[in-house]
Amino acid sequence: MSTQNQNQNGYMLLFRGTDLRKGVSPEELQKVTDNWMAWFNHLTEEGKAVAGNPLEREGKIVSGKDRIVSDGPFAESKEAIGGYFLLDVSTIEEAVAIAKECPGLPYGIRVEVRPVAGECPIAADIRKEAQFAQV
């Protein structure tokens, strides 16, 4: 955890879990979503969030050489991605601190924090390898 973790491309928060814990009342559920929206608006005003959206639960999966299309569900509902934020912050510590404020956490939502890459990390790796090979 040092300045080595600086990343100019920002971070993505992926919200995992599309169902809150059972037994949450409609009022409480409404409160969570209101808090979530207020949290996002606040981050946007501070210039820390540059994009964010919920995703609908339906969808499709395309996979394999034969490009087969199948319907969801995609992952178990506790792992399914329910939405995302794109953060314009420069360290993972800051991104993690923001993730910890997620109003869904007490209800079983998990937040995955991922550094956004400027170029494909695989491309970067093979370029580095090629440089070493030339030396």
Partner: protein, 140 residues
């Protein structure tokens, strides 16, 4: 497929999942796939069908537990399910979004692509309203 009920004004998100498919490919093959993939994205952007995409680094952290007490290293999913990148599509139907996903050059190398409608209104909000209505009906 193109009817009003499947039209979405907010576009679609493609989530690319894969394991380390490139481990078994030669340097030249990897370079070729990356070149094809970049060209594919550039073409979609030029056509106005996609916003520039972002790859994600494979490291990161996952926060869970009440008040975010648990911080663990790395993405949450198993290697083959890790999300390696995403693309936001500005198209109106899921059929169009699926057709674009099917044209991805990475599919032949074992990626799978999740196609999800982006929404303005949180599905949890919708659920909260449904629950409130059910309670009202039950008490009526």
């Amino acid at each position: 497929m193109k009817n009003m009920s499947t039209q979405k004004q907010n576009g679609y998100m493609l989530l690319f999942r894969s394991d380390e498919w490139y481990e078994e490919l030669s340097h030249d093959e990897i370079q070729k796939v990356i070149g094809q993939n970049n060209a594919w994205i550039e073409r979609l952007v030029a056509q106005g069908k996609a916003k520039p995409g972002h790859p994600l680094q494979r490291n990161g952290a996952t926060i869970s537990g009440k008040n975010g007490r648990i911080v663990s290293d790395g993405p949450f999913a198993e290697a083959k399910e890790v999300i390696g990148g995403f693309l936001l599509l500005d198209v109106e139907t899921i059929a169009e979004a699926v057709a674009i996903a099917q044209s991805s050059p990475t599919l032949a190398y074992g990626t799978s692509i999740e196609v999800r409608p982006v929404t303005e209104e949180c599905p949890l909000d919708v659920r909260a309203r449904e629950l409130a209505r059910e309670e009202q009906l039950a008490s009526a």
